[in-house]
Symmetry: C2
Amino acid sequence: MDHSTEEAQTKEMDIRSLSSSHRHSQSERYIHKVGVPPKQNLFKEFRETLKETFFADDPLRPFKDQSRSQKFILGIQTIFPIFEWGRKYNLKKLRGDLIAGLTIASLCIPQDIGYAKLANLDPQYGLYSSFVPPLIYAFMGSSRDIAIGPVAVVSLLLGTMLQNELDPINEKAQYQRLAFTATFFAGITQVTLGFFRLGFLIDFLSHAAIVGFMGGAAVTIALQQLKGFLGIKKFTKKSDIISVMHSVVASAHHGWNWQTIAIGASFLSFLLFAKFIGKKNKKFFWVPAIAPLISVILSTFFVYITRADKQGVQIVKNIKKGINPSSVNEIYFSGDYLLKGFRIGVVAGMIGLTEAIAIGRTFAAMKDYQLDGNKEMVALGAMNVVGSMTSCYVATGSFSRSAVNYMAGCETAVSNIVMSCVVFLTLEFITPLFKYTPNAILASIIINAVISLIDIGAATLLWKIDKFDFVACMGAFFGVVFSSVEIGLLIAVSISFAKILLQVTRPRTAILGKVPRTTVYRNIQQYPEATKVPGVLIVRVDSAIYFSNSNYVKERILRWLEDEEEEVKAATYQPRIQFLIVEMSPVTDIDTSGIHALEGLHRSLEKREVQLILANPGPVVMDKLHASSFTSLIGEDNIFLTVADAVSSRAPKLVEEQP
Amino acid sequence: MDHSTEEAQTKEMDIRSLSSSHRHSQSERYIHKVGVPPKQNLFKEFRETLKETFFADDPLRPFKDQSRSQKFILGIQTIFPIFEWGRKYNLKKLRGDLIAGLTIASLCIPQDIGYAKLANLDPQYGLYSSFVPPLIYAFMGSSRDIAIGPVAVVSLLLGTMLQNELDPINEKAQYQRLAFTATFFAGITQVTLGFFRLGFLIDFLSHAAIVGFMGGAAVTIALQQLKGFLGIKKFTKKSDIISVMHSVVASAHHGWNWQTIAIGASFLSFLLFAKFIGKKNKKFFWVPAIAPLISVILSTFFVYITRADKQGVQIVKNIKKGINPSSVNEIYFSGDYLLKGFRIGVVAGMIGLTEAIAIGRTFAAMKDYQLDGNKEMVALGAMNVVGSMTSCYVATGSFSRSAVNYMAGCETAVSNIVMSCVVFLTLEFITPLFKYTPNAILASIIINAVISLIDIGAATLLWKIDKFDFVACMGAFFGVVFSSVEIGLLIAVSISFAKILLQVTRPRTAILGKVPRTTVYRNIQQYPEATKVPGVLIVRVDSAIYFSNSNYVKERILRWLEDEEEEVKAATYQPRIQFLIVEMSPVTDIDTSGIHALEGLHRSLEKREVQLILANPGPVVMDKLHASSFTSLIGEDNIFLTVADAVSSRAPKLVEEQP
């Protein structure tokens, strides 16, 4: 606010003789009173708040003044956007979607098989999850570029959390049932959040936290792959770097299988090279996209002819043929697994959402179309609920595949339908051919896929811009790597919260001084040339005053006063402080504790015969000051519109002093 | 900020012909650039933040440039303030302290016996807790008015939490041991918070929450007393109103004892009358103060002669004679009771602190002396640690007794020493006389004591000032009354947090318009006379932009733009929106997510050929905008000091339009 006053008032100085400026900055008739906003009707106020909180985007706007039939059609289109954009669909678009669909299909099939392993499920479940959910999403979702299916991070999260409850090998049946239960509740969570417009909750996972969390998860996943990559038989169940490294080293001199390593290493380098080419020249984006499938085919063929599996190269063995069986009766709707499934589902669902919404927003911004976060959540939730009943585990939007989808020129969600059809055909006819696919390849594919989740550029940017964000990021990263995915998540969220709370617990305060030859008051630390006004102390508070900071603000201001009084004592010919002006411009809100603090401040100042003056309180604050009759306590005439007003009317001496 | 600009700029208008004002608001040479603060050294910045967070009150200031011996003496005085104020102690002060000490002693003895019952402990433990802790506090504490001892709310809290773990009758020994363990850890918690300067944590229990919590606790405690008051034998263990009322009604036709009721009722009315007198005329404050002791003496004597205990009037039976036995070996330093004790201790300790600090601050403000919250916590903690080793349970500052202490004209903590001496004599010689004291009296005394915790005035004030605070207050109240003390506490804290988070999740935004005949831009809803600038949309954001609100802010601004563009389409001869000015004055801070949001906003605007312009970003924001090179993204010359500047340089047409 200083800026503006300065700006405006230096103008004054520029065009008028200083004397004149004093005359009128002294003369009261130019001093405007702070207006009190008209008292709002409570219900209206409440409704407004509610609307801004839950219906900020005013989703019902299109329904306004429409005929009943119109409303019905609009309703259908809102739930199933496909009926809206479907009517404008044409062959040109189809062409784009077809190419994109085939590309992501070739990318997703090998990834799915690998990700299923991350979730400790049989490979076919990965493929199942790339068949049904994308179809549902195509009808209900409103993003045009997102590619739906299982993703590395959620698979890992689900895997680790499920395996804390049940053993994936010995209690396989229950394990799968719990997985479906978790998926079901993940879907329910997502629908609920969307339906009750609680979408903003996922915003609490800050960008910084996500960067760190994703990076950590990527490292963890890569480490997990060492099992398949080195062909280690007995591998730790834990996911933290210590225990993984331990079991890697422990099995070094006998547990490793050089044939496996050879295959894995060669194809990994092939994949990395492909990725490099794709990066180098955007029009070769398809090279890294189809590389995984190629390496699967080649390696499978190679193993098949050399029978390397006899040399201990672990292979996928068999993938169950045929499409998703129903799993409705598999879901636990009672017993204590219900609760466990619910707990896991909520976490997995939230993470899934965060990833999907982030992707959706990114591409929506690129192609500049609006995306209703809450509607999106309903779509994602519905797709997971249906998925949980058709043997799928939690699916969401995949960063890597969505990017490929976008670059392959997808036009609409039809690309998801195409992909899902390809997966369908795979399940029906091709799965047996995967028998000889070496696990090492899947490991290489996953490693290659998750590497791109480690975003060092973003981390360095965080460091440059906001140290606190960087700490949150690192906290999440090391939490995931050294402890577990959940712990990392917990750390990330708590640091993010702590940041907000810290900001409202320790707001900045600044002493203002008068910038020479103007009537502007600025932070004297930022503007050394600014001079304090004799007999007046001017403090600015840089935040809303709430219970969490009210005491601090009060005590901080009093301490500023003490320091000042000491200085004055030290100096000679200095008048004692008579007025304490609190510049309130940045104080956007105040609550009862805040007002109590101001009253306390006023009391302590009275004891020291210092007059409390408020400058420029905003409408909301002014309203509450009136409601609490604080204004009458310190006197209406001690509330000014600007510091300049306050000074000129309280300490006119100063004005004479001017050159 | 608008205010100030207006204020300053209307001046302009007043004294200059409008034309002149245009001339120069057009001419670029008056347009000041926004200054970028000098880059701060990271370590310095970090240290600053740390200092403001933990050492805001700069506790080491007096130690600066002092001789070693001086430092040592100062150190001793910091830990034991008695050595500081003790040297200025005189007879006049002693007189005040003596009277005050005797008064609070007469008040505390009967209360202690009752409160011990609330904690399911034998009556003498209440007295123990009024003997040792006050002594310790007198040496270490820095408040002059606080009266130390067991208090109703903490006793209830401790009682309910302990009896969830152990049965106070059948497992009496362990129960007591757990009580001491909890007390020990309550003390440790308090010392830790104080020593590590975490005092601000208790500020998170907002004033509103405390009002509700205290009121609820008072109601619960009063209900608990119905047992003693109605002479009911078998009474529920639960503390919620439902189960209490149930067991009261259930025992109505046989379980009640009319003699007990008669005694209780008559003395309760006596106490209430005494309180009324005290309220009526401040100089009779001592009447309610000694009334409890008088009623104890009278009732005891009455029961003794009438042997009413033979008619089923329950009496205290015997209180163990002699002062506190040691309880060092009773504390659980191992086993799972260690953890339970710890958990309970932390909660009890926090509540104890909240109450004591609130009292300390109140009276410190009244007599205008500074109180170091953290030092105070160390004192309270130390006193509870010592207490836990001398058979005391959690003691803290009592609202009612401190008020009496203050009114009785206490001068220093010596009044606590006096009280503690009286309690010592009581323990040594008088306890046997309490044998015939009817429980009904204790019940009446407690009811009479806690009634004053129900602060309806405060609640109504909350309603008037801040509806959200009122909700928090009611949440705490009903949580305590209908569920349990812990639940109430939990609700209160979570609502308080929710409030902060909501504020940073849904900040206010406003469309600014030009107030006629000025160059001031104000919220057009607040100032209907303000007119929009053709071709320009001006939005103000009223909060720091963080990850929790960055998306909302971005989308809200875009929605404002859409609404505006629709209007423009509707109207004829309206130029399309070319510039979107974001007024940043209230934006005190921004983080990486916030900057990403701004970048996103900039991108979407570019797509619509609308130019993004920032007005008056603060130093911190400016700093980060540079660090992220956002400034160069939108162009340095699109950041202005004021909205007026931005408009006059971007849409000079407007200025001509003016009359």
